[in-house]
Symmetry: C2
Subunit: 347 residues, 2 copies
Amino acid sequence: MAAKQGKSTRQENFANSKRHVTSYDVARHAGVSQSAVSRCFKPGASVSKKMRQRVMDAVKELGYQPNAIARGLITRRSNMVAVIVSNLNFYPEVVSELSARFTERGVHVLLFTLDHESDVSRTLDQVWQYQVDGVIVAAHLSDEEIQTFRERDVPLVFYNRSYTDLPVSSVSCDQVEGERMLVTLLAQAPETQSFAIISGPRDSVVSMQRTESALSRLRELSVDDITQTFGDYGYKSGRRAVQQIIEERGSVPDAIICANDMMAFGCMDELRFHLELDVPGDVSVVGFDGVRAAGWSSFDLATIQQPVESMTEAAVSMLMDRVDNHDLPPEKRMFSGVLREGSTVRS
Amino acid sequence: MAAKQGKSTRQENFANSKRHVTSYDVARHAGVSQSAVSRCFKPGASVSKKMRQRVMDAVKELGYQPNAIARGLITRRSNMVAVIVSNLNFYPEVVSELSARFTERGVHVLLFTLDHESDVSRTLDQVWQYQVDGVIVAAHLSDEEIQTFRERDVPLVFYNRSYTDLPVSSVSCDQVEGERMLVTLLAQAPETQSFAIISGPRDSVVSMQRTESALSRLRELSVDDITQTFGDYGYKSGRRAVQQIIEERGSVPDAIICANDMMAFGCMDELRFHLELDVPGDVSVVGFDGVRAAGWSSFDLATIQQPVESMTEAAVSMLMDRVDNHDLPPEKRMFSGVLREGSTVRS
C-alpha cells in the first residue's frame, strides 16, 4: 500500500528531483551561455547584476542544484575532509563530535579506519585520490608521510598526537601531566609500594608518552618495584596483562597503571571476578581517557578525562583556518586533562 | 632538526607528488591527444594496444595518478558511499566494519551522524550534493524520503531497519524473534511474575518492534503485571527508568527488559549500586544488541548478539550489487540474533 502511495506522489517529487537539471538546461532556459551560468556559481567571478538575475531566475524555476563535486573542481574546494582514525572503537565520541562540527560548517567527513597504525601509508594513497580540503589524523605518521602533506599542500591537523620536533599542527591532551597526576594520586597511600604498568601497543606514541611519564614520576618518588607489560588497548588484553604481571612477579602488585580505560576495565574485571580481589582494597587501578564507561558505577574508574569537546572544536577550527589560508603557520594546542578520582584508588 | 631533514628529502618526495601531474602532461609526454589519455582510464573505451602502451609508459614515468573525483565525473561513479547513522556511540563496531568492507572494495565512506533520527531529511539534502554511488541508512526514513532515492536513482540499503510494506532493500536482525527468546528465558523461572520494559526513544522503529514483540510474548504467557517506560538508549536513561518504574509500581519488578544493552548497563548499575539489589538474585535484567561490554564480567548480560559481521557484509555487497546494476529488485535480508544467556537472569 505504502509503495502505491509513493507512486502517486511521483509527479510532485519529480519537480524536486534536481539530478536531471544541469547547468546547460539553466543556460538554455535563461538564454545565456553555459560559462555565464558557471561564473554565477564561482566565488569572485565577475558577472553583471542583470545576468545574475536572469540566471538565478532560471535556477529557481528549474530547481537547479549545482553539483558539489563539479563545483569543487571549479573552486578547488571539495568541502570534504578526511578523518583517519586507528580504531573506531576507541574513538566513537571523537569521530561523532568531529563529524557534527564539520557538518555545522557545511563540510563532510570521509572516514578512514585502520586496524593497525602502520597501515596509515597505504591509506594515504587512497586519501590523495580524493580532493579533500584537509585531513585530521588520529594515528601515527612518519616524517616522510608528513612531508607528503606539505608537498601536496594539503592542510593537516593531528588529533591527540603531538610531534614536539616537527612543524605540524596538532591538538592533544597533555599525556605527561595527566599521567603524573594519576601516579601522584596512587602514591598518596603509603602502603602502595609496588606498581605494574600495562602499556598500549608498542607502535603507539601516546602509550609511550603515558608510560614514560609514569615511569619518570615513579622514579621521582623513589619507587623501584615496577613491572611492565603490554596490551593492545582492548579489554581482553587488560585481562591477559594481569595474568602476565602475576606470573612475572609471583605476586599481585599494590597498584596497576593502565595506558587507557579499556584495558583498565579488563584489568579490574580480571582482578575482581577471576582472582576475587577487591579494587581498591587489594589493588588500586587507574586508566586514561575518561571514556563514558569510566563513569559507570560498575567501574567508577580513576582516570584522566580528555576534554573531547574542546579538543574536537580546536581541531576542526584549526583545520578550517588552514583550508582558508594555506600559509598559516603550524600551531600546537595542548589541553590539560581533568583528573577523575573515581573509587578505584585506595586513599 | 627533523624539519630540516624533511627539507633535504624534498627533491625525492617531489617525484612522488602526483598532484601536479595532469592528464595534459601525460598527453604531451606521450605525444598523443588528451582525449586518448582519458580513454585509457575509462572502463570499456576502445584504445589500441600500441596507444595504451605509449600512454602507460608516460603515466609511469611522470608518476601520474588519475584524480578520483574527476574520473567520477567521467564514469559517473564517485567510488564514495554515504553512511548515515543516528548516533555513532551505539554503532562504533558497525561503522568500523562497514568502513573496512567498503575500503576493501576501493570505495570510501562519507559519514553522516544525526543526533535525532528526525534530522535525517536535513541530512539528505547534504547527501544529494555529493555524487555518492549509494547510501546505507541506519536511521528512520519517511515514505517520501525513501521515494526521493528512487527519483534520483540512488541505491539505498537500510541497516537494521526493515520496512515490511515498502519495496526497499534492508539488512536487519530479527528483532521479534530475538525479543521472544529473551522473554522466554526470563519466564523460565516460575517466581518471575512481574515485568518492566524500558523502551528506547519513541521515534525508534527498532525499539517499537522489540517492545511489541516482548509485550506479545508476555501476553501469550498470560503475564499481566507489566510496567512500561521509555529511555533514550543511553546508560543514564536506563538508571532513570529504574527509578520511574519503582515510583510507578511502588515496588521492584521481578524482571526488567531493556530495549538495548546500554540502557541495561545503566539499569543494572542502578539496581546494584544505588538500590543495593542483587542481579539476578532480586531482579533479572536483559538487553539487546550484544555490544562488547555485554561480555565483560562486570555485566555478563543476557542479550541478543547481532551478527554484525554477516550483517555488514550483506549490506555492503547488496549495496554494491545495486551500484553495478540499478535495475536489481529490492531485497530484504534478515539475520537471526544469537541468544547470549549471560548471568543476569535467574534460572
